[in-house]
């Protein structure tokens, strides 16, 4: 059992499958009648968001609340975080206030790692996105969604072909997905313009391609990444239209997927840029489902990191 969730690479196959299985159980347990479980009653989860991220923050809040944890949210606007208080001081403050877990989103790569390893706090640390490094719960929810559609919601993703398209260089979603999907046995291909692929990507546990049509042909799933406006200003590619033509997903391209192939996007989408509205809202799209699954997967992560105390489990078992 890992203590923190900092990188998708922290998870071995059994651990990753256990989280996905737990998420499935929690999804069934919190159906229409019962929304809340008492698992984390009396425990405090702090959401520490140094970057705006409405959807990830709300997802973690919902997850913690459905497990009956007390939730405190610090976001960059309206707290001392925006007044230049250091990560360390904020961590010490949270520790002093009795937080049990910290869910952290930060613009600096490695911020969650630093928080967990520097001795500033004894809290469980969950990485909710650190700079251009990783976003492991996004990868877990993507894997959960893929497993639901491609592997009947059980086991791993052995042999499934998944294509990740777009700004791989700056994407924490891509990094975490490449690691986790490989761990689960999927065959991953990353696709993007060469300017948006990191130096050394050949060494990653995936294939690399500049040709989207070729990569999509027969694939089981495609994950489209958001392209930030500032990338265009920095001349990573000549124009939005050219990007869209070469690396955007339209209906014609989506049809290259395997017959039951699905389309994922971590959101928020740039409709008309990396994905057309027609595909985003079309039958292959599982984008809305990803959001729902996000809550269950985050519940599972909090549950396993915070709730699954060995002594409690053995009591329950006896």
């Amino acid at each position: 059992m890992i203590r923190h969730l900092l990188s998708a690479g922290d998870l071995d196959r059994d651990e990753a499958i256990a989280i996905l299985d737990t998420a499935g159980e929690l999804a069934r347990a919190t159906g229409r009648s019962v929304k809340k479980l008492p698992t984390l009653r009396g425990r405090t989860v702090v959401n520490l968001f140094y970057e705006d991220s409405t959807r990830t923050r709300i997802s973690f809040e919902a997850a913690a609340k459905r497990l009956s944890a007390d939730v405190i949210t610090f976001s960059a606007k309206g707290s001392s975080v925006s007044k230049g208080e250091s990560l360390k001081d904020t961590a010490l403050t949270l520790e002093a206030m009795g937080a049990d877990a910290v869910v952290v989103r930060h613009s600096a790569s490695g911020a969650a790692h630093r928080l967990a390893m520097s001795g500033w706090t004894d809290c469980v640390v969950v990485n909710a996105g650190d700079g251009t490094h990783e976003h492991p719960t996004q990868a877990l929810l993507d894997a959960y969604t893929l497993r639901h559609h491609l592997s009947d919601g059980a086991g791993d993703l052995q042999g499934r072909r998944v294509v990740i398209v777009g700004d791989i260089l700056h994407s924490r979603v891509a990094r975490s997905n490449v690691l986790l999907l490989e761990t689960l046995g999927a065959e991953v291909t990353v696709v993007g313009p060469p300017t948006l692929l990191p130096v050394g990507v050949e060494g990653w546990p995936c294939s690399v391609s500049y040709d989207l049509d070729n990569a999509l042909t027969g694939a089981d799933a495609v994950m489209m990444l958001r392209v930030q406006n500032e990338r265009m200003n920095a001349a990573y590619f000549p124009s939005a239209r050219e990007y869209s033509r070469r690396y955007g997903l339209d209906r014609h391209r989506a049809e290259l997927l395997a017959p039951d192939g699905i389309v994922l996007h971590p959101g928020p989408m740039n409709r008309g840029m990396e994905i057309t509205a027609e595909v985003a809202d079309g039958p292959r799209s599982v984008v809305v489902e990803q959001v729902t699954n996000g809550v269950h997967v985050r519940m599972a992560v909090l549950y396993r990191l915070m709730g699954a105390l060995p002594e409690l489990e053995s009591e329950a078992g006896s």
Partner: protein, 428 residues
């Protein structure tokens, strides 16, 4: 007062008795045969080298006395075996006028642990726009000969050309921090597979190599000498080697940390390992060791860069660039170059004392161990082992990358013009 250093081995060769008097080496006699002095030091088993000279030190005074002062920095220097350091210009205010360099020089004289030679800024305020009054600094009491915007590259090719030309009038040298600025915007670590995995923006080797290539060609064209600070890549070593074969008057330095540490330390996200230029790959480390051994790289310079605790006790992206180096430099060179057979002790004396003194035009330092020469000396126990403890270092800052690490060889004593600044490993 005369002092006899008994049974000491110059350059690790045959032991002698070395008598110091009136700030100079007064006699050198066969071991055990020197007449008694007023003071005697038993140095059996120790090596004597000319006092070390650092061409690249950040003393932080004036402006950041919370991180280091001239007094604390020169104390660290003396404990590391140095008898002279060159204080980089990126202070607050910047050392870009005769007034500031004279102040630094005078404060160095007062502190007294080693000589302090101020480095003058090349451009006003390190802004890279117009030349600072280089001549005034050269003519000042500080007698500045080394000019550098260290920390910032003189990236404008015309300005660099002018600077190279201008300092010829007083035999100065431009020490370039080779970093193409556009290629390194927001850079956090060496660019390679690891930076991609860690999500840290890369500092590509070409950003260093392209500037070095340009500057050696500029130096050739205008007939000036140029010095390259802290080179860190195999490509840089290759370019310097090519330039020297071509007869270009270029000198180059490597830091101790680039001789021993690699980029893998960034996986800790601990900013203690964040430095500019960044730690590179094992192949680059091998290349700079080869370059230092064959003389392509002329000197070891520490780039001693103290930073306040809060500037390192944070996330990687917010951390300051730089590491302490003065008290660990010689041990790193011993471990990486001497114990591996790459350098003799005579060559260590060349790379860490004689050559830097020549590049900096410091006439009284880096002299041979001969009768009549100034008694700027360091006594080294090559077999001693010690463990780095940041709290025990003389620096005001604690940002050593070697915390807890066992180091090879220890400075036992340092003499500045015959006066001990360090004895038995402690400030005298």
């Amino acid at each position: 007062m005369s002092m006899v250093i008994r049974e000491v081995a110059p350059y690790g060769e045959e032991a002698v008795d070395m008598t110091i008097d009136d700030g100079r080496i007064a006699r050198i006699d066969p071991a055990g045969s020197a007449p008694a002095g007023e003071r005697e030091i038993d140095a059996s088993g120790l090596i004597v080298l000319p006092g070390l000279v650092d061409l690249h030190t950040h003393l932080r005074e004036p402006g950041r006395e919370d991180a280091e002062t001239i007094e604390s920095g020169t104390a660290a220097a003396a404990l590391g075996g140095f008898t002279a350091v060159h204080a980089m210009a990126n202070t607050q205010p910047v050392a870009d006028t005769a007034g500031v360099v004279e102040q630094v020089w005078r404060r160095g004289q007062e502190a007294g642990y080693c000589d302090v030679h101020p480095v003058g800024a090349v451009t006003v305020g390190l802004a890279g726009e117009r030349l600072a009054e280089l001549g005034a600094m050269a003519d000042s009491a500080a007698r500045v000969r080394v000019f550098s915007d260290d920390g910032i590259c003189v990236s404008d090719a015309v300005l660099m050309r002018r600077a190279l030309e201008y300092v010829k009038a007083f035999d100065g040298v431009i020490a370039q921090h080779a970093q193409e600025p556009r290629l390194t915007e927001g850079a956090q670590m060496n660019e390679g597979e690891l930076s991609g995995v860690l999500g840290l923006r890369g500092w590509p080797p070409v950003a260093e190599e392209a500037i070095i290539a340009r500057d050696v060609l500029l130096a050739e064209h205008v007939g000036s000498r140029v010095h390259i600070c802290h080179l860190s890549t195999r490509g840089s070593v290759d370019i310097i080697r090519w330039a020297k074969q071509r007869g270009i008057d270029v000198t180059a330095e490597v830091t101790p940390h680039h001789l021993i540490l690699t980029e893998e330390l960034a996986t800790t996200y601990d900013p203690r390992y964040k430095v500019n230029p960044p730690l590179r790959t094992a192949d680059d480390v091998a290349a700079v060791r080869e370059g230092l051994a064959d003389g392509t790289i002329d000197i070891v310079a520490t780039d001693h860069a103290p930073h306040a605790h809060e500037d390192k006790d944070c996330e990687w992206g917010a951390g300051a660039f730089g590491m302490l180096g003065l008290q660990t430099a010689l041990s790193v060179v011993i471990e990486t170059m001497v114990e591996t057979g790459r350098l003799s002790w005579r060559e260590v004396a060349d790379r860490m004392s004689t050559a830097p003194a020549i590049i900096g035009r410091v006439e009284s330092q880096g002299r041979p161990l001969e009768v009549g020469e100034p008694a700027n000396l360091v006594l080294v126990d090559p077999r001693a082992r010690w463990h780095v403890n940041a709290d025990a270092l003389a620096s005001r800052s604690r940002n050593t990358p070697f915390e807890g690490r066992e180091m090879s060889g220890r400075v036992v004593a340092t003499f500045l013009r015959g006066r001990p600044t360090v004895l038995e490993g402690r400030l005298a």
